[in-house]
């Protein structure tokens, strides 16, 4: 079986890992760094990803996309409150957010696919083989639409996503593999944009998730914003300068806020510095760890509620937890460690690099799927209750939250009116009483045979697979016939849209490559034309006239080809010109050699 890689597609950084001789390894890039910043920038020479793209955050903020994970599976309305923080332009089409980059718009799965492609290429370069299959991690608290969007991203990137697994459970696999732990563990995962808590029972290689909870809009980004907001406010007061008018400087503020926060994890105090626009000089601000903690206290506190809920759902108290594991870069903050330690009453584990542990776990799961690791099995749960809208706009729960997946449930449907030919079904996800307060996942129309009211009996099976993704099947109980259902996702791309994006991605990739080839060929042709013209001026007295004529002809041919769009034609004319100008080049070389010798004594030459 072809190799399967494990991918941590993070809000801030992404990583790819694989299993080598029973040990998961993260694949480094050419710069030896294991993390690829989850940043995509549109430049004049096409799209770039990762470290190179990160440099464009302050250079061309409106064309550089970061934290795209926050928009996966979301509508514009969902993220209205934080739009002001993002310098790039967001619109909506068919319930799905679109990001405007230059002339084109991209869906979040398309942007994520670019990051995935970068990781794919990194793995291919490192392993020397083609990579087409992957396990990708998502926050445990991601809903169906967000999971589906992640799967779509994989497909667009040319990867078959064999499994979507939850980040905290992936981390537990990496830890479990290393320490052969038994007992009950809590995984506290505070990443760049999301927070998860999972409670697991580990016994004889089985990793059984008892409960999970979280917040898909709470992470390091939000902590940084507290600091960034403070900087912007102070700059306004001190310099009478509103940085909101300067998107490039706003990005610098965001990055400096992040760095200040990171420095304060080690140091007790630090100084944040920012260059201001319009010759207003430089903003400097001393900051202590205490000050950062009082700014971020409320956000850290917000993670404790989900922890308590998860414990309650698992039927446990903090005392029942044997080990606590910290995952995600934001758990490096001393305040986070302190609050987690207080809640569970024990020192949390952080032996494995919190930035890499999720990718390592994804590689372990990949190895399980490829049949390499056979003694470990992860039994995960669905984080949110699944239900359908019933009369009066109430949600009726079909599969409750924290049910082990795969999970199935059946509901019987019939008609209320004689001859009724269909029933509309609205699928929801969430814990609230009213349908409107929950996440709308999809709608579909169940076809009914035209019979007296109450006679038709259609059984609908809701099946949540091991990826946490919903599948719906319908069967007519009277005829035993299955009915195909066309589910329209409320906040996702339709199958045909994904198909088109996969095609586009191949086309763009081809376009991008040929565009780059053309640009390079033109540049080199330009350089050759310039040097040849110069040579002709300098050396036309050194060679025969037919050689000069041939050179002029080849030069004209290349100049014409350079204005065309075929890089191969340009290259061919370049070769022609080099050939035609050879006598000239040789003559000039000899000439310069002779001239050089003339100025020197014989003893200097030998």
């Amino acid at each position: 079986m072809a190799r399967i890689v494990g991918i941590d597609l993070g809000t801030t950084n992404s990583l790819v890992a694989y299993m080598a001789d029973g040990h998961p390894l993260v694949i480094p890039g050419r710069n030896e760094r294991t993390m690829v910043p989850s940043v995509v920038a549109m430049t004049d020479n096409g799209l770039i990803v990762g470290d190179a793209a990160k440099e464009h955050l302050t250079r061309s903020p409106e064309r550089t996309v970061y934290s795209v994970k926050r928009f996966m599976g979301k509508s514009l309305e969902d993220v209205q409150g934080e739009l002001a923080y993002f310098p790039y332009h967001l619109t909506e089409q068919g319930g799905v957010i679109r990001i405007k980059l230059g002339e084109k718009t991209y869906s979040p799965p398309q942007i994520s696919a670019m990051i995935l492609k970068e990781l794919k290429q990194r793995a291919e370069a490192h392993l020397g083989e083609s990579i087409t299959k992957a396990v990708i991690t998502v926050p445990a608290y991601f809903n169906d639409s967000q999971r589906q969007a992640t799967k779509d991203a994989g497909m667009i990137a040319g990867l078959e996503v064999l499994r979507i697994i939850n980040e905290p459970t992936a981390a537990s696999l990496a830890y479990g593999l290393q320490q052969k732990t038994q007992g009950t563990i809590a995984v506290y995962d505070l990443g760049g944009g999301t927070f998860d808590i999972s409670i697991l029972k580990l016994k004889n290689g089985i990793f059984e998730v008892l409960a999970t909870n979280g917040d898909t809009h709470l992470g390091g980004d939000d902590l940084d914003r507290q600091l960034a907001d403070l900087f912007v406010k102070e700059i306004r007061e001190r310099y009478d300068l509103d940085l909101n008018a300067y998107p490039d400087h706003m990005q610098a503020v965001r990055l400096e806020a992040e760095q200040t926060k990171v420095r304060l994890s080690d140091a007790m105090k630090t100084t944040a510095t920012l260059d201001l626009p319009d010759g207003k000089g430089r903003y400097e601000r001393d900051l202590t760890r205490d000050q950062l903690e009082s700014l971020t206290m409320n956000l850290v506190e917000r993670t404790l509620g989900p922890c308590r809920l998860a414990l309650k759902d698992a039927g446990l108290t903090p005392n029942d937890i044997d080990e606590v594991v910290l995952v995600g870069g934001s758990t490096r903050m001393p305040l986070v460690r302190q609050r987690v330690q207080e809640l569970f009453g024990k020192t949390p584990h952080c032996e494995l690099n919190p930035d890499e542990v999720v990718a390592l776990g994804a590689a372990v799961q990949a190895d399980i799927l490829s049949g390499g690791t056979t003694d470990m099995l992860l039994l995960d749960v669905t984080p949110l209750s699944l239900g359908i809208e019933t009369m009066g706009g109430v949600m009726s729960s079909v599969i409750r939250r924290n049910t082990t997946i795969p999970a199935g449930a059946k509901e019987m449907f019939t008609t209320y009116v004689d001859g009724q030919t269909g029933v509309d079904i609205h699928i929801l996800q969430g814990e609230r009483e009213l349908a409107k307060d929950n996440r709308s996942l999809a709608r579909f129309r169940l076809k009914m045979p035209p019979l007296p009211a109450g006679v038709p009996r259609i059984e609908v099976t809701f099946l949540i697979d091991a990826n946490g993704i919903l599948n719906v099947l319908a069967k007519d109980m009277r005829t035993g016939q299955s009915q195909s259902i066309e589910v329209k996702p409320s906040y996702g791309l339709s199958d045909s849209e994904v198909e088109r994006m996969i095609e586009d991605s191949f086309k763009f990739a081809a376009d991008d490559v040929s565009a780059r080839k053309l640009i390079e060929a033109r540049l080199e042709a330009g350089a050759l034309i310039t040097t040849t013209e110069k040579s002709l001026l300098e050396g036309n007295h050194l060679i025969a006239s037919d050689n000069i004529a041939a050179t002029h002809t080849a030069l004209a041919a290349l100049t014409a080809a350079k204005d065309g769009t075929d890089p191969r034609a340009i290259r061919a004319r370049m070769a022609d010109l080099e050939q035609a100008a050879k006598p000239l080049t040789v003559a000039l070389l000899n000439d310069s050699l002779i001239k050089g010798l003339q100025g020197k004594k014989v003893s200097e030459v030998t």
């Binding site: 079986m1 064999l162 016994k203 004889n204 039994l379 082990t404 997946i405 795969p406 091991a466």
Partner: protein
Amino acid sequence: MDHQHTHSASPRELQMARSMCWHCQSEMSGEYFCERCVKVQPVSKELDYFTCMGFPRRLTIDPRQLETKFYELSRAFHPDFFQNKSAEEQTISLSNSALLNTAYRTLRDPIERAEYLLDLEAGSVKQIRNSPPADLFEEILELQDTLNEYRAVEQTSEAESTLRTKLQSERNMLEQRQRNMEAALQQLFVQWDALQDRGEATSQARAERDRILKEMREHLSNRTYVKNIVSDLVSTIG
């Protein structure tokens, strides 16, 4: 439903949907993998959860034994282990796993287990799930009034504290009541298991069976009712 399984005291292997392998059509001997072609077999949707997990239809189940069986069957069925197999086998693995997970969840909790058994033996408990205990009817009406009063009264006032004390003692009383019902249910579970173990087919045994099921139904529905009121109380007074 095949009643023969329920009389078997020893845990049996998982029962298959068909007596023939779906793939090579050779005869199946009750294992969940075909002996000849080693293909996974679909678990019948018609099987009850007890049989599905290889337990007799009893109300006392050792949770550790149940967990061991659950882990064992998970290792046999989980889709993780069918990644390299055919599409048919993957579909069977998925639906078997889903059924196994439902069976385990239902049997793991003593109350859900009893409700499920009642459903199997005497039809759905859903319609009567919420009936208040007859002797508590008056008290519950009064409690609802007190709750409404408490919700309307000003916070941190003297009236609030008096009402809170009253509700707190009501809560204690109801919780005690719930524990009593659970103890009574436990008794009924033991009686049920003993009756099943004896396996008598006399009219006396049939009458005993009906009595146990009837009392169980009553206690289960009253308990659910009381439990709902308690959680309502807890969320109001905190």
